[in-house]
C-alpha cells in the first residue's frame, strides 16, 4: 500500500477507483461486515463460514494507464475485476467511474455505462457460437440498436484492426485460439469503450501465441490509449505490459507499484518470490540503479534515465567506464558504474538496491 503514492506520480485524472472494497461470499455477509466495523480478519470470516474473496481493496486507475492485477488462482483477482465492472455486486466499499458512484447506478444506468464506457475480454473468449466473426464483433452494437450498415462497417474496421480481415464470415469454432481472442478483442473495442477490462485474455493460449498477442496489445494500446485493467497470473506478462501492477493474495492487494519498484523493492517475501526469477536487466532502468553524479560526469557517455539496463549493458561493459544518466530534459542527474550493471546482470544487486 505504501507504494501507491509513488505510483500515482502520473499527472493524469483518475478514471476508475475503488475504496475499501469487499466481496464476502456467504449468508448475511453485509450485516456481518457492518457488525465488524467494515473490517474482518481471516479468522473471523472463517468462524462465520464466510469467504472473503476481495478484502479491503483500494485502487485508483488513471486515464490511459495499463493497470495490471496479478495473483495466483484463488487470489480473488477475477472476483475483483467483476466487482469493478459490477458483474458481481460488492458487499461493501465505494466504486467510482469518472467520479460517478457506480454502486448507486440503477439497472438502466448500468446498462448504459456498460454499453458506452466499458469493454471486456474474457479468458475463454466467450464468443457466441451461433454467430460468425462479423456478427460477433457487431453484437454489442446490435443490442444498442445501431442499424445494420453502420454496425457492420464499424465491425469491419475492428476486424481489420486485429488483422482478421478475410475471416469475417467464419464461425468461432473454425478459428484457432489466438484468432478467437482477436475476435474477442475486436468485439470489446467495437463500442469504443473508455475502460477496457481484460480478464486473463492470453492465459488459454500457448506460449508463442501469447507473446504474439502481448505484442499486439502493446501495439493497439499505442494507438488507442485506453484505460486498461488487465488480469493475469503470469508475472512476466504483467511486467511486459504494465504501467503499474497490483499484486493480490488471499483477496488482499499486498503491493501496488511500477514493475521496477516491485522488482527492486518488494514489499513482502511473497512479492519477492515472484520477482526473483525475473530478468532484472529488462525491468530496471538506468535511473533506478544510478548513484549521484561525480565531478567528471559531464564528459561521460550518456544514457536516458528511463532506458532499460538491457539496452546499454553490453556497451557499458565493453567501454569499462561509467556512463552519465540524464533526465528527459538532458540534464545529468547521476551516473552508473559498469560494476553495478554487471551486478544486475548476474543477480548480485538483489537486496543491495533496497
Amino acid at each position: 500500500m505504501d507504494k501507491t503514492a509513488a505510483g500515482a506520480a502520473l499527472p493524469r485524472p483518475v478514471k476508475l477507483s475503488c475504496h475499501n472494497l469487499w466481496k464476502v461470499f456467504g449468508g448475511h455477509a453485509a450485516q456481518f461486515l457492518a457488525a465488524h466495523g467494515g473490517k474482518a480478519t481471516t479468522a473471523e470470516l472463517e468462524a462465520a463460514h464466510l469467504v472473503g474473496a476481495v478484502r479491503d481493496v483500494s485502487i485508483a486507475v488513471q486515464e490511459g494507464e495499463t493497470f495490471i492485477i496479478m495473483g495466483l488462482s484463488g487470489s480473488g483477482k477475477s472476483t475483483l475485476v467483476r466487482c469493478l465492472s459490477r458483474l458481481i455486486e460488492p458487499t461493501a466499499g465505494e466504486l467510482t467511474v469518472d467520479g460517478q458512484d457506480l454502486l448507486k447506478a440503477t439497472d438502466a444506468e448500468l446498462i448504459d455505462i456498460r454499453r458506452h464506457k466499458m469493454g471486456m475480454v474474457f479468458q475463454h473468449f466467450a464468443l457466441l457460437p451461433h454467430l460468425n466473426v462479423l456478427d460477433n464483433v457487431a453484437f454489442p452494437l446490435l443490442i444498442q440498436g445501431v442499424e445494420r450498415k453502420a454496425r457492420e462497417d464499424r465491425a469491419m474496421q475492428m476486424i481489420e484492426l486485429v488483422s482478421l480481415k478475410g475471416r469475417e464470415r467464419r464461425f468461432p469454432a473454425e478459428l484457432s485460439g489466438g484468432q478467437q481472442q482477436r475476435v474477442g478483442i475486436a468485439r470489446s473495442l467495437a463500442v469504443e469503450p473508455e475502460i477496457w477490462f481484460l480478464d486473463e485474455p492470453f492465459s488459454a493460449l500457448d506460449p508463442l501465441i501469447r507473446r504474439e498477442m502481448q505484442a499486439e496489445l502493446i501495439r493497439l494500446q499505442g494507438v488507442l490509449k485506453k484505460t486498461i485493467i488487465f488480469i493475469t497470473h503470469d508475472f512476466d506478462e504483467a511486467i511486459r505490459l504494465a504501467d503499474r501492477i497490483a499484486i493480490m493474495k488471499d483477496g488482499e492487494i499486498i503491493q501496488i507499484g511500477k514493475p521496477e519498484e516491485l522488482v527492486s523493492n518488494p514489499a513482502t517475501d511473497y512479492v519477492a518470490r515472484f520477482t526473483q526469477d525475473v530478468n532484472r536487466a529488462r525491468v530496471l532502468t538506468a535511473g533506478g540503479i544510478m548513484l549521484p553524479a561525480s565531478a567528471g560526469a559531464a564528459s561521460l557517455r550518456r544514457v536516458k534515465s528511463s532506458a532499460k539496463i538491457e539496452s546499454f549493458a553490453s556497451d557499458i561493459v565493453e567501454a569499462a567506464t561509467p556512463f552519465a544518466v540524464e533526465d528527459g530534459a538532458g540534464d545529468i542527474i547521476g551516473e552508473i558504474a559498469p560494476r553495478a550493471v554487471i551486478d544486475v546482470l548476474t543477480g548480485k544487486s538483489r537486496g543491495a538496491a533496497a
Binding site: D112, R114, H124, L128, P129, H130, N132, I143
Partner: protein, 659 residues
C-alpha cells in the same frame, strides 16, 4: 449397501455403522412380519377396512370437473380442433366445402410432393444418404398402401410438436428464472409426468374431451412436453459463465440476454429436446389411438385385438419407418452448422422453402390431371401382410414345440415362483425396508418421501397388483441387466463390437413401445413371457448404453496407473474400471427400471395381470378414479426406485470425491 471395499477412514466407517444396522433391523423386522403372517395377517395383507378411498375421491373430483368444466374443455377442444382439422385435411383427407352434390373438394397434398419434400429436407441436412432414407422411407409408406393412416398420424405430430416445443421452452425459461419455483414445483411435476404410465394420461382426457383426435392431441402434448422443459433448463444452465458475463458487459437488457445470447448458445441442448419431443409424441400418438387418434396406431390396435399378425406387423413397420425418418432428420437438423448470415437476394435466403413449396404445389396441381399423383394407385401397392402371416404360420408349424417348451419352462421355473414370491410380500415389511434404505441413503427427507409414496400404494388397496407390476418390471430389469451389462462391457472393450451394438440399440430406442410387442406376440402369443421379452427388448437399451459409456469414460491416467501397478487385465477391470464406472452403470439400471415400468403397462394389452391391466380396464370403462390412482401407484414405484438409486449414486460419488 454392504460395500466395504471403499474402506474409508475409521471415523467415517463408524459414522456409517448405525445406518447399516438400521437397514438390517428393518430387514429382520420385515422377515418377522412375514413369519407372523398367520397371527397378524393385517401386517401382511393390507386390511380392506383400512383402505383409503383414493379412487372414489379422484373419481368424484374428475366427475365434478366434467360436470362443471365441460364448457371450458369444449371450448379448448374447439380451438385445438381448427389447426388439427387443417393439418389432417391438408395431409390426409382433402378440404371439402359445402354439402351434397355441390360440394367443392380441394385435394390433399400429393403423395409424390410429400415424398419429394422429405427427400429434399434429407438432402439439405444430411446429403444423399439421408435424402434416400427420408424420401425412400416415405415412398415405402405409399407403396405399402398405408399412406392415408400414416398421414393422419403425421398430421397429429405436425400440430403437436410445435405446441410442445413452445410450451416446454416457456416453462423451461420460467423455471430457469425462478430456481425456488423450479425446485418445489416444476421438477417434481416433471418427475411425476414422466413416470405416470402413458395409459393413465388417456383416461382424464377421454373423460373431459371425449374420444376424439383433440383428446389424443392433448394427451400427447402432456406426455411429450417434459423433456423440452428439461432440455431448456439444462441448456440454459450449461451456458458458460463467461458468456453470461459478456452479455451483461455488452449492456444487454434482461430480454436481450435471454433471447439473443443464452438461448442461441443453448441451441444444441434445445435441439436434443426437440428430437425427444418428436419421438415421445410419435410414441404417444400411437397409444392415443385408443381414445380416437386414428391413424397407424388404430390399425395396430385393431389388428392386435383380432390377432391379425400380418396387418399389425405392416402397420407397425410403417410406424417404425416414420419414427426412424423423423429421428434421423431431426438429429441431422440439430447437428448442422449454423447457416451463414442471410445475405443477398430473396432466392439465396428462401430458396429452399421456395423449392419445397413449389414441389408440393406442382405435384398437387398435376394431381388434378393425373389421379395417380393424388393417391398412390392401388394396383401398384405391395402388401407384406401375407408374407408375415406365412412366416408366422411356418413358425407355428415347425417351431411351435420348441417355442412352447421355452415359454412353459420360463413360466414354470422363473416367472411363476417369482410372481408368487412378490405377491406374498408383506406390505409393512416392504415399507420398513424402503424407509430404512431411504434414511440411510438420503436422510429423513428421502425416508419420509419413499415411506409416504409406498404407503399410498398399500392404502389404495392396490398392493397386490402393485407387487405384480413390480415382479414383472423387476424380472425384466434383471434380465435386461444380465444381458445388457455384459454386452455393454464387451462394446466398451472393442470398437468393432461398439460399431455394431450402438446403431442397433439406437434403432431399438426409436421404435415406439407399441410396436415392439407385435413380433413377440407372433412367437409367444399372449401372457407374461411375451410381456417379459418385449419389456427386456425395450429396457436393455439404457443398460447397454450406460455401461459402455461409463467404462469408456474411465480416465486414461487411472488405467495407466493400474497397468503400471502391474494389474492383470481382470484385476484392472475389477479394481479400476468397474468401480469408477459403477455410478454410471447404476444410472443405466435406474433408466432400465423406469423404461421397464412404462413398457409393462403397455403389455397389459397382451394379457398381464397387474396395475397395467387395472388401467386398461379403467380405460375401457372410462373409470377415471381407478385408472388415475393405478397410474399414480405405478409412478410412485418408479419414483421410489429412482430416488433410492440416485441417492446411492450421489453418496457413492461423494465418497469417491472425498477419498
Amino acid at each position: 449397501m454392504t460395500d466395504v471395499t471403499a474402506s474409508p477412514a475409521p471415523g467415517i466407517a463408524k459414522a456409517d455403522d448405525p445406518g447399516r444396522y438400521v437397514v438390517m433391523i428393518a430387514v429382520a423386522a420385515a422377515l418377522a412380519v412375514f413369519l407372523l403372517r398367520d397371527r397378524m395377517p393385517a401386517l401382511t395383507t393390507y386390511p380392506d377396512g383400512a383402505i383409503i378411498p383414493f379412487k372414489e375421491w379422484v373419481g368424484a373430483v374428475m366427475n365434478w370437473l366434467k360436470v362443471n368444466l365441460t364448457w371450458f374443455t369444449r371450448s379448448i377442444a374447439a380451438v385445438m380442433d381448427v389447426p388439427l382439422r387443417f393439418a389432417i385435411n391438408l395431409l390426409a383427407k382433402g378440404f371439402k366445402f359445402g354439402y351434397g352434390p355441390q360440394a367443392v373438394v380441394l385435394p390433399r397434398l400429393s403423395w409424390l410432393g410429400v415424398v419429394g419434400v422429405m427427400g429434399w429436407l434429407g438432402y439439405l441436412y444430411g446429403g444423399w444418404r439421408l435424402a434416400l432414407l427420408c424420401g425412400g422411407g416415405f415412398f415405402a409408406l405409399a407403396l405399402f398402401g398405408v399412406w392415408d393412416n400414416a398421414m393422419l398420424t403425421l398430421a397429429l405430430i405436425v400440430i403437436c410438436v410445435p405446441f410442445c416445443v413452445v410450451t416446454g421452452l416457456l416453462v423451461g425459461i420460467w423455471s430457469y428464472r425462478s430456481p425456488g419455483f423450479n425446485g418445489y414445483v416444476i421438477t417434481p411435476a416433471l418427475d411425476l409426468m414422466q413416470t405416470i404410465p402413458t395409459f393413465a394420461y388417456l383416461i382424464p382426457m377421454l373423460l373431459l374431451y371425449g374420444a376424439s383426435p383433440v383428446s389424443a392431441l392433448l394427451a400427447t402434448g402432456l406426455f411429450a412436453t417434459p423433456p423440452m422443459v428439461r432440455a431448456t433448463l439444462l441448456g440454459l444452465n450449461k451456458v458458460p459463465p463467461e458468456i453470461r458475463d459478456f452479455a451483461d458487459m455488452a449492456g444487454c437488457t434482461r430480454r436481450q440476454k435471454l433471447w439473443r445470447v443464452l438461448l442461441p448458445s443453448a441451441k444444441p441442448s434445445l435441439m436434443i429436446g426437440v428430437n425427444q419431443v418428436i419421438m415421445l409424441a410419435l410414441n404417444m400418438v400411437i397409444i392415443s389411438s385408443m381414445i380416437g387418434a386414428g391413424g397407424l396406431g388404430y390399425d395396430v390396435l385393431l389388428a392386435l385385438r383380432a390377432l391379425k399378425i400380418g396387418q399389425a406387423m405392416e402397420a407397425g413397420l410403417a410406424i417404425v419407418i416414420i419414427a426412424i425418418v423423423l429421428d434421423r432428420l431431426s438429429q441431422a437438423m440439430a447437428r448442422r452448422e449454423p447457416a451463414p448470415a442471410a445475405e443477398g437476394s430473396t432466392w439465396a435466403r428462401h430458396g429452399n422453402i421456395i423449392i419445397a413449396v413449389g414441389l408440393l404445389a406442382l405435384t398437387t396441381l398435376f394431381a388434378f390431371a393425373v389421379p395417380a399423383l393424388a393417391s398412390f394407385p392401388k394396383s401398384l401397392t405391395v402388401t407384406t401382410a401375407p408374407l408375415w402371416k406365412a412366416g408366422v404360420d411356418w413358425l407355428t408349424l415347425n417351431l411351435f414345440d420348441t417355442i412352447e417348451t421355452v415359454r412353459v419352462f420360463v413360466l414354470l421355473n422363473f416367472l411363476n415362483p417369482l410372481r408368487a414370491a412378490f405377491e406374498g410380500l408383506p406390505w409393512l415389511g416392504v415399507l420398513l425396508v424402503i424407509v430404512a434404505l431411504g434414511w440411510r441413503l438420503g436422510g429423513w427427507r428421502l425416508a419420509l418421501l419413499v415411506g409416504l409414496l409406498g404407503f399410498f400404494a398399500a392404502s389404495s388397496g392396490l398392493w397386490v397388483p402393485a407387487m405384480q407390476t413390480l415382479y414383472l418390471a423387476g424380472a425384466a430389469t434383471l434380465v435386461a441387466c444380465l444381458l445388457g451389462i455384459p454386452l455393454g462391457i464387451w462394446a466398451s472393450r472393442s470398437n468393432r463390437v461398439e460399431a455394431v451394438v450402438v446403431p442397433v440399440i439406437d434403432t431399438l430406442q426409436t421404435i415406439p413401445m407399441f410396436c415392439i410387442i407385435i413380433p413377440v406376440v407372433m412367437l409367444f402369443r399372449v401372457g407374461d413371457v411375451t410381456a417379459l421379452i418385449a419389456t427386456v427388448a425395450f429396457a436393455i437399451v439404457p443398460a447397454v448404453r450406460y455401461t459402455n459409456h461409463g467404462l469408456r469414460q474411465v480416465p486414461v491416467q487411472l488405467i495407466e496407473a493400474g497397468q503400471v501397478a502391474g494389474c492383470t487385465r481382470w484385476q484392472l477391470f475389477r479394481h479400476v474400471q468397474l468401480p469408477v464406472a459403477m455410478p454410471e452403470i447404476m444410472l443405466g439400471i435406474n433408466q432400465a427400471i423406469l423404461l421397464a415400468l412404462s413398457m409393462i403397462i403397455i403389455c397389459a394389452m397382451v394379457g398381464t395381470r397387474d396395475l397395467g391391466q387395472e388401467i386398461f380396464k379403467a380405460l375401457a370403462k372410462a373409470d377415471s378414479g381407478r385408472g388415475i390412482v393405478a397410474g399414480l401407484v405405478i409412478a410412485f414405484i418408479g419414483i421410489i426406485a429412482d430416488r433410492l438409486i440416485t441417492a446411492w449414486v450421489a453418496r457413492r460419488k461423494r465418497r469417491g470425491g472425498l477419498a
